[in-house]
């Protein structure tokens, strides 16, 4: 969980230069499309997003339909179930497809909340400095002192599971990272010459924030978000793996992996497919994130 954010932050040591915004974005898009890995990642992510959006059409069976006479079938054992069935007799392929929906929903929702909370708070801290900054810095320190996913476990023990609760629990930790980034970003930007000159020629506070600071901190934020999504997906999978995440009958890859743990000696397919899916989706997002970072930060590429 820490790994993705670590790689995000090492990209952010250098804030982006604000010369000509439009060219920058166009250049970035061009660089991104030339990056083979990034494109592969984009294809993977698009594929899973496609699955998530059209799950109802794509899945051959409803995700909660139980076939009592077809419990724990292996892949290929029955023509209607190419990936076999699970321990309750549900079609595994359909559950895999709906699992994509759960993962993507959690990933996007958590990051959306994190940005909605983290950017204003981090922005205030970075721009105002002083006491607000002190508070936010301490908050960041405190949250890093909590052992990763354990904080989410504790919170979920209080609230109970279910997708909304999982999203909320994960957002509590996720916004901190965004706030930290925004703060660091603004801290360095507000000392920049063009901001100072804008201030000198009498541009309003609001104008400075809207016209200079926000656009300039967007780049690293975008990168952070692209790494934050897989982190959230991983965390959901982890919670569900421990049996305290998504409720049944909804499908979650993490839960499927967790359950498979006690069947794996015989029913290998229960473990294989969801682990592959998690790995692929995480890889896809990471490729995209790396590609974005390289594309948006030309200095990294010499």
């Amino acid at each position: 969980m820490t790994s993705a954010s670590a790689s995000a932050s090492d990209a952010l040591v250098q804030p982006a230069k604000a010369s000509n915004q439009r060219t920058l974005w166009r250049d970035a898009a061009r660089r991104f499309s030339r990056n083979r890995l990034a494109m592969v990642g984009l294809v993977i992510v698009t594929f899973f997003v496609f699955l998530a959006v059209f799950a109802d059409v794509l899945a051959p069976h409803p995700y909660d339909k139980v076939y009592f006479e077809r419990v724990l079938l292996f892949p290929g054992e029955h023509p209607a179930h190419p990936m076999g069935t699970d321990e309750v007799g549900r079609d595994y392929l359909s559950r895999m497809i709906y699992g994509a929906r759960t993962s993507i929903t959690v990933g996007l929702a958590v990051m959306a909340i994190a940005v909605a909370i983290g950017v204003p708070i981090g922005g205030i801290a970075g721009y105002m400095g002083g006491f607000a900054d002190w508070i936010v810095s301490r908050l960041v320190e405190i949250m890093t002192a909590f052992p990763g996913i354990l904080f989410a476990i504790l919170i979920i023990s209080v609230w109970g599971g279910g997708i909304t609760k999982v999203i909320m629990a994960l957002s509590i930790t996720a916004w901190i990272e965004i706030a930290r980034l925004t703060r660091a970003q603004l801290l360095s930007l507000r000392e920049k010459e063009y901001v100072e000159s804008a201030r000198a020629i009498g541009v309003t506070q609001r104008g400075i924030i809207m016209r200079h600071l926000i656009p300039n901190s967007l780049t690293p934020l975008l990168v952070a978000i692209s790494f934050g999504i897989p982190t959230a997906i991983f965390a959901e999978a982890g919670l569900s793996f421990l049996g305290i995440g998504i409720n049944d009958p909804f499908a979650s890859w993490g839960k499927m992996v967790g359950v498979s743990n006690s069947y794996v000696r015989v029913y290998w397919h229960l473990a294989l497919f969801p682990t592959l899916a998690i790995a692929l989706l995480m890889l896809g997002f990471t490729f995209v994130g790396d590609g974005l970072r390289d594309a948006l930060d030309p200095k990294m590429l010499e």
């Binding site: 790994s3 743990n261 998690i278 790995a279």
Partner: protein
């Protein structure tokens, strides 16, 4: 420097205080307690007796005060899960196993990670480099419980070469005439992939960076042997970002992974994070959370100090203390 350290220590204490309060309040707000009411609500009297026995009948701030008073004296109480021992003894027992896993993981991750990073940097832009980069990416993104299950599927279920799980004490394996327990392999490999990837990546990028710096060029211009440059100049300078990586990796390894310990059924400390919450083992939860907070805090501090030691150019306190 001293002033800076003092400031950091103070802020560490503040963090510990907040962590202890938040954990204490959170865990007490989880429903249930150290009693079993599965057969129905206990009669008030029986319930009250149990609460009194564990000191849970007092207001929460009194409980917190009592806990902290004892904790500062080194008395972390009795774990509800295993009341015949103390929290300290139980942590010592389980931590030993976690540390064994962690130590072996560090060895493997560093050995392989640094080598891979160096090889990649040395053969920059070759297929070896791409391979290492890709491998690092893989190790980086794939959750370790996923890797763990793959290993189980291949080596335990399919090939039947290795046991499904467990963690033998070294003595157990020695009886069988071996110095190495086969059940060590999969957990350590699965656990080491992420740190290995981080280390390989950091090593590679910082070595590449440093090789481009002026002093490396100068050394090369002076006609020094490439390998000498590599080790005398480049590697030493490349250590700096690696220290940062260490600061992230080590505390994770020290406290153990819930996932690795769950998948491989290792009775280490990581597993107790979860069982303690499930059992409402308040003293154990507190001790574990505090332990992690202390470890993180101290290691961050050590990381910063290590910077000054490796790179004299870094002066602590000069850059606004945001670790």
């Amino acid at each position: 420097m001293t002033r800076y350290l003092l400031g950091r220590l103070l802020s560490l204490l503040l963090v510990l205080f907040v962590v202890s309060v938040v954990t204490f309040v959170l865990m007490h707000s989880v429903p249930g307690g150290p009693f079993d009411e599965s057969k129905g609500r206990l009669p008030e009297a029986a319930r009250a007796n149990i609460m009194r026995k564990y000191g849970l009948d007092k207001p929460i701030y009194v409980q917190y005060w009592n806990y902290m008073k004892n904790a500062l004296r080194g008395d972390f109480g009795i774990p509800y899960q295993q009341p015949q021992t103390t929290v300290t003894a139980l942590i010592a027992k389980t931590w030993r196993i976690t540390l064994q896993v962690g130590a072996m993981t560090v060895l493997l991750a560093f050995g392989v990670g640094i080598s891979l990073g160096l090889i990649a940097a040395y053969n920059q832009n070759s297929w070896i480099d791409s391979f290492v980069t890709f491998f690092a990416m893989l190790g980086f993104t794939v959750p370790n419980f996923v890797v763990a299950l793959w290993l189980i599927l291949v080596f335990a279920v399919r090939l039947k070469w290795l046991p499904m799980g467990g963690w033998s004490a070294s003595g157990d394996c020695l009886v069988a005439g071996r110095f190495f327990c086969s059940d060590w392999i999969m957990p350590v490999v699965a656990y080491s992939l992420i740190p290995m990837a981080i280390i390989a990546r950091y090593t590679r990028s910082s070595v590449v960076d440093v090789m481009r710096q002026d002093y490396a060029r100068t050394a090369r211009a002076k006609g020094l042997h490439e390998r000498t440059i590599m080790f005398r100049h480049v590697f030493r300078n490349a250590l700096i970002p690696m220290v940062t990586a260490l600061g992230v990796i080590i505390p994770n390894l020290l406290t153990g992974s819930i996932f690795i310990e769950t998948v491989f059924r290792i009775n280490g400390m990581g597993k107790y994070f979860v069982t303690s919450i499930f059992n409402r083992d308040y003293p154990m939860i507190m001790a574990l959370f505090l332990l992690v907070a202390v470890l993180w805090g101290v290691l961050y501090l050590l990381t910063d100090i290590a910077y000054t030691w490796i790179d004299p150019r870094v002066r602590l306190g000069a850059k606004g203390g945001n670790a």
